[in-house]
Symmetry: none
Amino acid sequence: MPRFSVVLVEPQTSGNIGAVARLMVNFSIKEIFLVDPTNIDDEAEARAMHAKDLLEKAKIVEDYQGLLKRFDMVVGTTGIHTEKEKKFLRKAETPEKFANSIKNHEGKIALVFGREDKGLNNEELKSCDRLVRIPSSEEYPILNLSHAVGIFLYELHKVIGDPSVKNEDKISEASERERLIGNFSEVLEMVNYPEHKREKTEIMFRKILGRATLTKWEYHRLMGVFSQILQELEKKSG
Amino acid sequence: MPRFSVVLVEPQTSGNIGAVARLMVNFSIKEIFLVDPTNIDDEAEARAMHAKDLLEKAKIVEDYQGLLKRFDMVVGTTGIHTEKEKKFLRKAETPEKFANSIKNHEGKIALVFGREDKGLNNEELKSCDRLVRIPSSEEYPILNLSHAVGIFLYELHKVIGDPSVKNEDKISEASERERLIGNFSEVLEMVNYPEHKREKTEIMFRKILGRATLTKWEYHRLMGVFSQILQELEKKSG
């Protein structure tokens, strides 16, 4: 079964942190990281109710990119809905779809929630393997932070909460997918793929691997394909 | 389509009322009744954010049983889980099941939420046509009032939805993915990928594209990458 951690990036409202702690115990999620929280006061404790233990064990960190290295998969969240296929940075799946796609996998997964007012910035979105958005009204789509966390954890609990669910494929590690994307870039380089399209195409490749929940076995096989392509291109250019 | 109203019975925390108002606009539910609220202060308005209009239109009532007469169906909620069949008063279905069962019906439906600390009393439970409970952890099953409302409304919205929301991403067509897989095979051929591994690797590629639900835009971009690889390999072998 996958193991989930909640990551709040620069949460601004202390009450929200407490509410999130409560929701985590409500839905059996154990680990929380707070990246540069604005402040944590009595309101957090009041709203945590019977989840004060979890709140006390919250890990406060500064280095967001460093934190991500601890996980096999990083799942970002957004409140912004885009109709445009090309706005791939904001292209998101539903929590339900995500939960169903991940339930038979093993691995350490970060669920990342952005600031109350501005969400995650583009740099942060780029480093996510997948992106989830809660379907909501067009009139006012932006949920309060803790309610977004609650609905996401509820969906995970619904699908994964049942400990009787087994059968797991090992998810490829982040560093493995990084290598794969590295090889992909190298191929683009060697075939003179247009410079200005390269970054977007690499990000697209990362998102495809993420949405597919690439397994270890698939990683090894794709690596095999890429090395063979690279070898052949080098041989011919050499 | 059914029309839903939220009914909060003796809500004690003003902030929760505001949070519920916000959630209602988030999930396109228009009408709220407050039965004997303890107090409504600035905190309600602060947490309502862009849902202040709805908050102002909240109807405060005293006669709970009288209120119920306005509805075609009354749905209560409980945080207590019971396995015992005899405790029929607390026998509940999930929000998901409820939403699915009601989606093709018309009528006016009350979603009734009890007090933060004690929920609905036995008299109130008896007057409900149905009872819904959000599945949660055994360790600490009781959700904050506004989070329970949020999850319930989210499930309704998911199933019954926002008629304005369309399906956004155009999925690539089967014939397009077929072409992509054809190009992939051609690359394997040209780089002398081991014959005996080829079929499995092609199938794997197909599954990855499938699981990722490849979009049209992604299809075109991947086709671009493949043609460039093929072109380069041909040039060098030619």
